[in-house]
Amino acid sequence: MSILLDVTKELFGMFVADLRLAVGVLCLVALVALVVDYIGIAPLAGGAILLIGSLVIVIEATIRSARDS
């Protein structure tokens, strides 16, 4: 049981080490899907939003962690 629990914790921790970062990534992907599929902006512009959004999310998460430490 302890091993299963450790494996589950490890897998969860792999993807959700920082909850705000994880939620931010999921919201960003949903936003890009929305603007490309439903609003109809050029897919390449969607790619640019994805890239810039990812950079903003990781910079914010890092600066926040540094400030809180």
């Binding site: 091993i3 993807f15 959700v16 970062l21 994805l50 990812s54 950079l55 890092t62 540094a66 430490s69």
Partner: protein
């Protein structure tokens, strides 16, 4: 047989090699701690048992990948890679900025040896059993990450074989060096590796997620190199900015 352009094959092999090196070094440190404390028998049995479980997982889940439509697979893997890669990059930037302590294999080695002895005494069971279990858990947990990395960088565009070759090469390299020096691999520049891997996995994450959403990246696979450069520059600049700001405030 390797098919595809070197623009996609080289990053797949490189990322799988570097990321797997980090994971295998971590597992090797614990195996070595177990072996020096209780001998190679429990370390070997624990390692082999974990490798068998990993092989079962790969054999059971591997064929399912073929059943998932390519765009769906790219999107799911891309999102998982974004979560994994950005998280790894964040930690690497914090370490580079001096906010988070650097990974120290020698300290982990000593801590693991101490914990095995304490746990055996506390639970009143054979120290060999605890030692074997520690090796099993280390190989299983780090191995699962290696399996994910191979699937993540390889499955999106039929690059499972190059990614697996990268991971296998890392395994052989770490074992060869480890057997030769017979000490924790403290000199592996693990923190630098983690920075590079964070950059590469984040780049793959943006690339695959974009592909899954129908983004026609300019230059196709070659745009991966551009993404790597952008994440690398951003990572270094952010770490440097945090370091400078902290130095000014202290």
């Amino acid at each position: 047989m390797l098919t595809g352009s070197w623009g996609s094959i080289a990053p797949a092999i490189g990322s799988a090699f570097l990321a797997s090196t980090v994971e295998i070094v971590e597992a090797f440190t614990i195996i070595l701690a177990v072996a020096t404390l209780r001998g190679w028998k429990p370390a070997g049995i624990g390692t082999l048992a974990a490798l068998s479980v990993l092989a079962l997982i790969v054999v059971a889940l591997g064929p399912l990948l073929d059943l998932v439509p390519l765009h769906g697979l790219q999107l799911v893997i891309g999102i998982l890679l974004l979560l994994f890669g950005l998280g790894w990059l964040r930690k690497a930037m914090l370490r580079a900025a001096g906010v988070m302590a650097l990974h120290d294999e020698a300290a982990i080695f000593e801590r693991e040896r101490r914990e095995i002895g304490e746990e055996a005494a506390r639970k009143m069971v054979s120290a060999d059993w605890i030692a074997g279990l520690a090796a099993f858990k280390a190989v299983l947990l780090e191995g699962l990450e290696v399996v994910f990395i191979v699937i993540a960088v390889g499955a999106g565009r039929g690059l499972l074989l190059p990614a697996a070759i990268g991971a296998l090469a890392a395994c052989v390299a770490v074992l060869l060096v480890g057997v030769m020096i017979h000490k924790p691999l403290a000199r592996v520049p693990e923190n630098t590796l983690k920075f590079v891997v964070g950059v590469m996995l984040s780049s793959f994450g943006v690339f695959w997620t974009g592909e899954g959403l129908g983004v026609p990246w300019p230059g196709a696979d070659l745009s991966l190199l551009g993404l790597v450069a952008i994440f690398l520059i951003t990572g270094l600049a952010t770490a440097s900015l945090i370091k400078t700001t902290r130095m000014k405030t202290t």
